[in-house]
Each structure stands twice: as structure tokens, then as C-alpha cells.
């Protein structure tokens, strides 16, 4: 190393320090709400009222979590969030599975079994991605009423499948567009038909895009409030709506610690999905980019 580069080496160190400071600052800024939620969910209500939001708990208690889960007053029943958590699971799992499966099938047909007008069909499905939630509320309510699925979990599943189909089709179509046509031809020559080509050749190579689609659909459907509030009745209400009912109830004392615990509970499944499959998410996006 020559002498002239010596001072710039110092500057580089300084810049690096500045960079890390900024990054740490942002990380703290983003993690702060999570910190506040977690810390206050394990405090007693007295401590929250009397003290500092940011301070660590003096008396550590899991009571707010238990209350939020199984005892808190939701609407008129003191059931806690647990039945609604189950409702959400009952809604999310079929909705994600069905919309992903149909999206994969659509993508397969739109790229490998082209038919006259396929581009128009795809264009219309793409259009579905740009329709705001609010526009479909009233027509969807009418449809659910007519087919007798209003206020049920299966009705919500149907709504989410229909609304998500545009996205899942888009994901799979773009992924399969880069899948070599010669492989499909080879499968045809080998005697594989429509379904066996799909299940034996395409699906086993679709891991990355399935992960991407599942994360996308799971997050959207789990976090949805509007459809849940509009189309569910008391027995089929998803977690998000129940959480709202818990937090915004106008009677009694505001139990902030319970509210915080409930909010963390509601966010937990999406967090788990991201942590478990997050690396596939990144890998999936990369794989699509390089393979093309």
C-alpha cells in the first residue's frame, strides 16, 4: 500500500462507520413498534398506566396473552381470540391451496396449451389484479347471497380464491413461459397426457414459484380485513375482524396489554411463514431471473 492511499483509507473507515450508524438507526426505528408491542404485552395494566411505554416490565406476566387468547370479551362473548384464529386458519388454508393450484393450472394452459383468444383471457385475468377491493364488495355480496354462501367460511374462501386468481395466474404464467416447450413436446412423444405432463414434468420444477405464490396469498388473505368484515358473520369472523372488535370495544377498561398481545398473536402466522420460507422467497425470485 502506497503512502498516498493512507489518508483515503481513514476516510473509508469513517464512511463505513457512518453507513453502519445510519443502518442501525433505521433498524431500531423499524423494530421499535415490535419492541413496544412485545414489552407492553407482558406488563400489568397498572404498570402501563403509571409508567413509560419504552421501559422493560417490572413484573413479568403472561396473563395478557392468556386473556387475549381465551378470555377476552369479543363482541358479546368472552371467548378470547382463539375461535377466530381457528376461523382464519379454516379460511386461509383452503383459499391459499385452491388459488395456488388453480393459478398453476391456468399458467400451464396459458403457456403450453395455447388456444385462440388465450392472450385476451390472460389480459382479462391480469385486469383482476388492478381492481380495488371496494369495487367488488356489493356485487360479491349479491353473488354470495344468491348462491347461499353469505356469512360462511366457505363464502370467504370463494371470495379470496376469485380475487387471488389474477395474481396466482400471473405468477405461474410468467414462470411457465420460460419453461422450455421442447420438454412438453418430449413428454407428448413419451406418451404423457395433459395431467401427467403437468404433475410429472412441470410441477416438480415449480418449487420456487409455488413458495412465492403461497407467501403472497397467505399474507394477503390472512391480513385481509375488508372482506372478512363485509362477508363474515359472527361464527365465521376471521382473526383480523375479531382483533378490531377486541381493541375498539367501547365499554369497560381499555386493556392495552391484552390488545398488544392480541395484535402480536394476529401477526404471528405471517411472521412464521416469512421466517420459514423467506429464504425460498428470495431464492425463488432469483431462480426465475436467471433461468429465463
Amino acid at each position: 500500500m502506497s503512502r498516498s492511499t493512507q489518508p483515503s483509507f481513514g476516510i473509508e473507515k469513517l464512511l463505513r462507520a457512518a453507513l453502519y450508524s445510519v443502518l442501525i438507526l433505521f433498524a431500531v426505528y423499524y423494530l421499535l413498534p415490535l419492541f413496544v408491542m412485545l414489552v407492553n404485552s407482558v406488563k400489568t395494566l397498572d404498570e402501563i398506566r403509571g409508567g413509560n411505554m419504552m421501559s422493560l416490565p417490572e413484573v413479568f406476566t403472561f396473563e395478557p396473552w392468556l386473556v387475549a387468547w381465551s378470555k377476552a370479551q369479543i363482541g358479546v362473548e368472552p371467548t378470547g381470540l382463539s375461535p377466530y384464529f381457528i376461523n382464519s386458519i379454516m379460511m386461509v388454508v383452503p383459499a391459499v391451496t385452491i388459488s395456488t393450484a388453480l393459478g398453476a393450472l391456468n399458467g400451464y394452459v396459458l403457456t403450453k396449451w395455447r388456444f385462440p383468444g388465450d392472450k385476451i383471457i390472460f389480459g382479462l385475468m391480469l385486469f383482476a389484479c388492478f381492481i380495488p377491493f371496494q369495487i367488488v364488495l356489493i356485487p360479491m355480496a349479491r353473488v354470495l347471497g344468491i348462491i347461499g354462501m353469505a356469512g360462511t367460511t366457505s363464502g370467504l374462501v370463494l371470495v379470496h380464491v376469485v380475487y387471488g386468481l389474477g395474481f396466482t395466474t400471473l405468477f405461474f404464467r410468467n414462470y411457465y413461459a420460460a419453461f422450455p416447450d421442447e420438454l412438453i413436446k418430449a413428454a407428448k412423444m413419451d406418451g404423457a397426457g395433459f395431467w401427467r405432463t403437468f404433475t410429472r414434468i412441470l410441477l416438480p420444477s415449480s418449487g420456487p414459484i409455488i413458495v412465492v405464490t403461497v407467501i403472497w396469498q397467505f399474507t394477503n388473505i390472512w391480513n385481509d380485513f375488508l372482506f372478512g368484515a363485509s362477508f363474515a358473520d359472527f361464527d365465521s369472523m376471521p382473526m383480523t375482524v375479531a382483533l378490531n372488535n377486541l381493541v375498539s370495544s367501547s365499554t369497560g377498561v381499555k386493556e392495552y396489554n391484552v390488545h398488544f398481545a392480541g395484535a402480536v398473536l394476529a401477526a404471528l402466522p405471517t411472521l412464521v411463514v416469512y421466517v420459514v420460507s423467506g429464504r425460498y422467497f428470495v431464492r425463488g425470485l432469483m431462480a426465475g431471473a436467471v433461468k429465463g
Binding site: E182, K185, A186, K188, M189, D190, G191, R200, I201, P204
Partner: protein, 369 residues
Amino acid sequence: MSFLQIDKVCKSFGTIKVLRDISLDVEEGGFLVLVGPSGCGKSTLLNTIAGLEKLTTGEIRIDGNVIDDLPPSERNIAMVFQSYALYPNMNVGQNIAFGLEMRGMPKDERDVKVRDVAKTLQIEHLLDRKPGQLSGGQRQRVAMGRALVRNPQLFLFDEPLSNLDAKLRVDMRTEIKRMHQTLGTTIVYVTHDQIEAMTLGTRIAVLKDGIVQQYGTPAEIYNDPSNLFVADFMGSPAMNLIPAVVRGNAVEMARTGENPLVLDFKQLPGDVAAYEGRNIIVGIRPEAITDADNRALVRDGQQAVTASCLIDVVEPAGADIFAITSLGGKEVVTRLHQDWSGQANQHAELVFNLEKVVFFDPESGIRLR
């Protein structure tokens, strides 16, 4: 009766005619090569034989049976694709066995067949690998194994060597030829490489714009081209196509700053007589023009003319020397003996083998016989 009959086949995509009235016959055990520039319809023709494309009109028969309405899997045809199209999620053994599995063959029977084929192709040690872990040549072998294992009555090859490097391509070419000689199965092979076409085919069909330009043995295609396109497309270096004027039984080729070169024939072909005093195109392959000492290229008794020509460029190529001269305003490539000692920008005595000269109409490009 021929084994594979392609009878007046036409194929259109909308208003675009890709294949126009194609009729070809191949005997059993034959090796048909479809050759032509890209977009000539050769791959489409292969796909219609495979059943991957429906033909618009016409008929394709194998062993006398019309196969037009059969799906690809029921035609008893196997195909090797340009990209090899190996299933990326299966290992080599599963790739080879997939076609048998789809036909419902029991697993132990499949295993025996896969092992046999792997042995023939010397890929036994690769059976557990995924296609992504194979080299280009190994993938090529696996693709061939997948076709072989089904023991089909017809093999289709769609430019199978175009993804390999030059040396491997020559090796695999020999291997395909050897495989054909051992198995004796009929093969239809698509390529844009005229050397592959010449070396592999028992019959060659030269295609352009969806029309068969010429159909014949490699020797017929090479020595007796039916039009300018075939003459120009087949052979490397390409045939010299020189504008000339007909004078009686001779043709005159203009030279800059010199007297025209006159090739005096005993007897010009009948069609050429009508062009007296007019332009025609004279076709001479590079090896039909050589140096005076290289008599090996002109057999005894063949008509030849010796003339002094100005050499512009000398290109030694190891086995031969290619010398370029200028006739009729065109560069003319000549193939000389490797011990030839001439220099560029000097005159040299060149021998023209007149028996190898062909003539074409300059407008239509049709061969004059």
C-alpha cells in the same frame, strides 16, 4: 414400397404457407436428411411427422399405414430434440424410463431395458445423476438413450448436434452414423449444416421456403444440383458461380485487364445452345479447379482446360491450399495441392475439370442440362 411416405403435405399457419406440396419417400432403414436455411420449414415437417403439428392437407404413411390422425405417442416414433429436452427433475435412469413408464411397463422390465440401453451408450455410470450435472455430450447420449429404449420404428432428430462444440460435434456425428448402421432403423434428421447432411444421409432433401428444391442421394445433390440455390447451399467452400457468355461450344468469362478466360467444351449440354451470345451462370466446385501438377483431382480421360490465371489471395488450409482468383467479376475459389508453391499477385497455371462444370439460367436459377 417405401417405408416412410410423405405425400403432398401442405402446412399453413393462418395465411402463411410453411410447407408446400412436399412429397418424399424413404426406404426402410434409410437415413433422410432435411436440410435448408432457417425458416425453410424443415423443423415443421419433422413436427408433422412426429404428430406435434397437424398437417393442413396431404398424408403421411409409415409402412403403408396413414398416421395423420394418431397422437404422437401412438405413432411408435421417438425424437431427439435440439435442446435434448431432458426432464430436469428426474435422474438419467428415470429420464430414459419415462416413456416406458407412460406405456405402463412394469418397473423391473423397465430397469432391464434402461440398463441395456445405458450399456450400449456407455452411460451406465451416469444413471443416478440429474441432467444438470452432465456435460453436453453426455446429455446428447441420454437424449439418444431415451429415444432408443422405446425401440421405435422411426427416429426423428431435430438438429441434435447444434449445441455441441466443433470437435464433439464430429464425434457425435460418427456415433449417430454408427448407431444407424448397427440398428438399421429408419431416421429422419433435420439440420442446417450441409456437412452433416452429406456425411449422414442416404437421401437428402434440400428445402427452401417450404418447397423441396431437390431430393436425392448426397452424390446427386453435390454433383448434380438442380438449381442455383442447391448448388450454392451444399458444399464448403461453396461452388463458384461465375457469370459467362456462351460462344458456340465455349463459354467466356470476363477478366479485368486481361483477355476473357475461354473454356472450350467438346459439346455443351443441349439447353445451353439456346443461350448463344447471352449470359449464363457457370458452376464449378473449388476442387474442379486445381494446379497443373495436381492431376489426382482430374481423372484420366476427363476433359480439362489449362489456363493461366492471376492469383489474388492464397489461403493455406493444411491439407489443401485455397487460392482465390477473379473471373466474371466474382471471387473464384480453387483448391490446390498442399505442396503448390505459387504466390499471391502472380499468375499460375490452373486446370479446369470440364466434366464437373454445371450451367444455370441467370434469371430463374434453373439448371441447364
